[in-house]
């Protein structure tokens, strides 16, 4: 945008972009892709072994990919859409209005991509970003370890220098979808003698490398999205380190901000009808058309107030970022509130569903979609840093309260 442009023409350009975007989405998003996500099959993750669950899913993905809109705000040279922040906001709002599903879900998009854009070498960007944008490679994240969950920096997986390579040995846990992933971005200890945060490196490698094994972990929801991941003398070229050797913590922290922003937005995905109407359908209404359970009604109304307020705050967080006024730790605040709110949503959904929401295995319940989703939300306030860790970050980094 040139300086000579007045704000009026910017606004006019943006309105034209909105009109064109709306028309394009209207013409290209299949009707089946405008319904809320109800099960895992509705989510397309990409990768070498990716399969589409339906023809509309394939069409929607390919059209969005061809337009660069799997990653609308990435530069075009890396497979992105090259949109400005303002245009990206318009696109998001038009997609939300239409209720269109994300064409591609990907830790590469949400987490690794932003970190590579900031810290990667040109060669690393050219190698990995276009494949992420095109859904060719599915990534997983090797952060947590059995004794290093929220205390992430105490991780022990070791990478020993051997010529041009590192040789990696150790174990990761809670590696989401490691059993389906093609590559991993991983934190390893490259200097065991340095202080906790100073000896860590951020490294990328192929999950088919010799010495990598994974084992799914069954959760209370009856699913196993998480794995234990083992590395036994895995050989990785040093050129696969992102950022400087031993300075991986900078990359990790930056990436976590994106992860937290992503998790805090989980409540927005797969949202269909308003809670009050879902509840009215199953609980019934009184003579005045009010939900026939006054306490549940009050709980939902109070939830709606908080959800609308959080949406405003998410919008403001983006606007602040755009204006260069955002606090870097604010994503922790959003992560805390968003995940706690999402848990509240599912408690209400379970309560509104009553007996029906208890069914675990039946056609009618879509194999217990609701109770499984309810149980899944309980991890929201644990993964990506627990609620307690988020509050600690806000207290220390934003409020500047003294360390214990």
């Amino acid at each position: 945008m040139t300086d000579s442009k007045t704000s009026e023409t910017e606004t006019a350009d943006l309105e034209q972009f909105r009109t064109e975007t709306r028309a394009w989405l209207e013409a290209n998003c299949p009707p089946e892709m405008r319904k809320p996500v109800t099960s895992d099959a509705d989510v397309f993750w990409g990768g070498r072994n990716a399969k589409f669950s339906s023809e509309p899913q394939r069409i929607w993905f390919e059209r969005m990919r061809d337009k660069g809109w799997t990653v609308p705000d990435w530069p075009e040279e890396y497979g992105g859409g090259g949109l400005s922040a303002a245009e990206h906001k318009v696109l998001r709002s038009e997609i939300a209005k239409m209720g269109a599903r994300p064409p591609l879900s990907s830790f590469g998009i949400w987490m690794l991509g932003p970190a590579l854009l900031k810290y990667g070498t040109e060669a690393q960007k050219q190698e990995h970003l276009p494949k992420i944008a095109a859904g060719l490679i599915r990534w997983c994240q090797g952060y947590s370890e059995p004794n290093a969950g929220s205390d992430l920096a105490s991780l022990q997986t070791r990478a020993e220098s051997d010529g041009d390579d590192f040789v990696i040995t150790g174990q990761k846990i809670w590696t989401s979808y490691a059993n389906y992933a093609d590559w991993i971005f991983c934190l390893v200890r490259t200097d065991p003698t340095a202080k906790k945060h100073d000896g860590i490196s951020f490294i990328l490698f192929d999950m088919t490398s010799k010495g990598v094994t994974t084992k799914p972990i069954l959760l209370i929801s009856g699913y196993s999205p998480f794995c234990e991941t083992f590395f036994d003398n895995v050989r990785v070229p040093k050129s696969h380190v992102v950022g400087q050797i031993n300075r991986g913590w900078d990359v990790a922290k930056y990436l976590l901000q994106h992860e937290r922003a992503m998790i805090s937005g989980m409540g927005e995905r797969g949202v269909g009808r308003p809670l009050g109407q879902i509840a009215a359908d199953s609980v019934g209404t009184d003579g005045q058309g009010r939900l026939d359970d006054c306490m549940l009604r009050a709980e939902i109304a109070s939830f709606d107030v908080d959800e609308a307020a959080l949406a405003a705050c998410a919008e403001r967080a983006l606007d602040l970022a755009k204006a260069g006024q955002a606090h870097p730790a604010f994503s922790s605040a959003m992560k805390y509130y968003g995940t706690e709110l999402n848990k509240r949503r599912y408690e209400i959904l379970m309560s509104a569903g009553g007996v029906d929401a208890l069914e675990w295995e039946s056609e009618r319940s879509k194999q217990g979609a609701r109770p499984r989703a309810w149980l899944r939300t309980k991890a929201n306030s644990i993964e990506g840093g627990t609620s307690e860790v988020m509050l600690g970050i806000v207290a220390k980094r934003i409020l500047d309260l003294p360390g214990a």
Binding site: P274, G276, Q277, A279, A280, T285, G289, R290, L291, R297, A298, I300, A301, S302, D304, V305, D306, A308, A309, L310, A312, C313, E315, R316, D319, L320, K322, A323, Q325, F330, A333, Y336, Y337, E388, M390, L391, G392, V394, A395, K396, I398, L399, D400, L401, P402, G403, A404
Partner: protein, 379 residues
């Protein structure tokens, strides 16, 4: 529109903050309270407000005002909330001005708006009659008499009631309490025969009064808007007032929170700064998040008012409900974390708690607005 202040709005905030914090810190309110000041606010300061253009912030330029919008109102109200400055700004410059802007005819506007703008006229809305805010329950009777009406009934929580020159009175010209139809707004001179005013010294030491009208005669020119059709006009005016009070509560919450965090960083117990205790850190962090979310919701509501007052109801309900809950929490945590000191009158924290309680009741509390949202969403 972005949910951040524009450069002009930031400048307005800076000048409001400078003026208000210099001339009316919390000690100003304390002095007015302790001296039982008969006016309840500083006339001198109100003149400064008029000179700088705040008194006529919403008054169109053709009537001598600044012709600004509701985001700007929020900016000033937030600063008022930080120091708890008692001021006719809310009642006169926001609520009454909006009623005149939206409902007034040419004669009414040109008579009153210039005087509001130059600080020589104080006006207020008289609406609530019962213990809780229920606009449609208005029962004050206005009976046709000759060319005009005779008004009889009582109003409570009339902000600045004992100093106002002009009352905007909600009355029932038809129908019965609870109905939307049959409401009318009247402009009533506070000196008119039959008007009795009782200044009610309130918990927060701000101005409010109970007024009683006994066969007060007004002529037909005193009707603001249409006879029997005031409900929609009132909805808009009240929503503007709600947005302004929400902004005051954001300012109040943030100030009490900042003071509390400073205290956590300076007060020692058990040989440590109490801000080192995780229990207190987490509560402070939660409160910070609550305030930030409420601030965003309030800005969203003020922007909605600027875009179209008649379509802002849900955003206003969200903002006022959140602001009430957040302010209540902020002052409670403030007093609790200040320990015994927080309970003393000598300390300022209690002033914030009292003002928050009044702001919560003003124009509907969190329960009222949560209920409004549920109704709007149809469940």
């Amino acid at each position: 529109m972005a949910l951040v202040l524009t450069e002009e709005q930031s400048m307005l905030r800076d000048s409001a903050r400078g003026l208000i914090s210099d001339t009316a810190p919390v000690s100003h309110l304390r002095h007015l309270r302790d001296s039982k000041d008969p006016t309840g606010f500083s006339k001198e300061l109100w003149h400064s407000f008029a000179e700088i253009g705040f008194a006529g912030l919403l008054v169109p330029e053709e009537f001598g005002g600044s012709g600004l919008g509701f985001m700007e109102v929020g900016v000033v109200m937030e600063e008022i909330g930080r120091t708890l400055m008692p001021s006719p700004f809310l009642a006169t410059s926001v609520v009454a001005t909006s009623a005149l802007n939206r409902g007034g005819n040419a004669a009414q506007k040109s008579e009153y708006l210039p005087k509001i703008s130059n600080g020589s006229l104080l006006a207020t809305l008289a609406i609530d009659e019962g213990t809780k805010h229920r606009p449609l329950q208005t029962n004050l009777q206005a009976v046709r008499a000759g060319n005009g009406f005779k008004l009889s009934g009582a109003k409570a929580l009339v902000v600045d009631g004992h100093v106002a020159d002009l009352f905007i009175v909600a009355a029932r010209t038809a129908g019965s309490a609870g109905e939307r139809d049959g409401l009318t707004l009247f402009l009533v001179n506070s000196k008119a025969k039959g008007v009795a005013i009782e200044r009610t010294i309130m918990v927060d030491a701000h101005n409010a009064a109970r007024i009683e009208l006994a066969n007060v005669e007004v002529n037909a020119d005193s009707v603001l808007g249409e006879v029997d059709q005031a409900a929609s006009l009132l909805d808009g005016v009240l929503d503007i007032g709600r947005g302004a009070v929400a902004a005051e509560m954001v300012g109040l919450s943030e100030e009490v929170f900042n003071r509390t965090v400073e205290y956590l960083k300076s007060r020692k117990q058990f040989g440590k700064l109490i801000g080192e205790f995780q229990a207190l850190q987490h509560r402070a962090a939660e409160l910070y998040i609550d305030i930030e979310i409420t601030r965003a919701a309030t800005m969203k509501a003020l922007q909605a008012l600027d875009a179209d007052v008649t379509k802002a109801a849900s955003a206003i309900a969200v903002a006022k409900a959140r602001a009430g809950t957040t302010a209540t929490r902020a002052v409670q945590e403030g007093v609790q974390m200040h320990g015994g000191m927080g309970m003393t009158d000598q300390f300022d924290i209690g002033f914030f708690m009292k003002r928050a309680r009044v702001c919560e009741e003003l124009f509907g509390d969190a329960n009222y607005h949560t209920e409004q949202l549920a109704q709007a969403r149809g469940y």
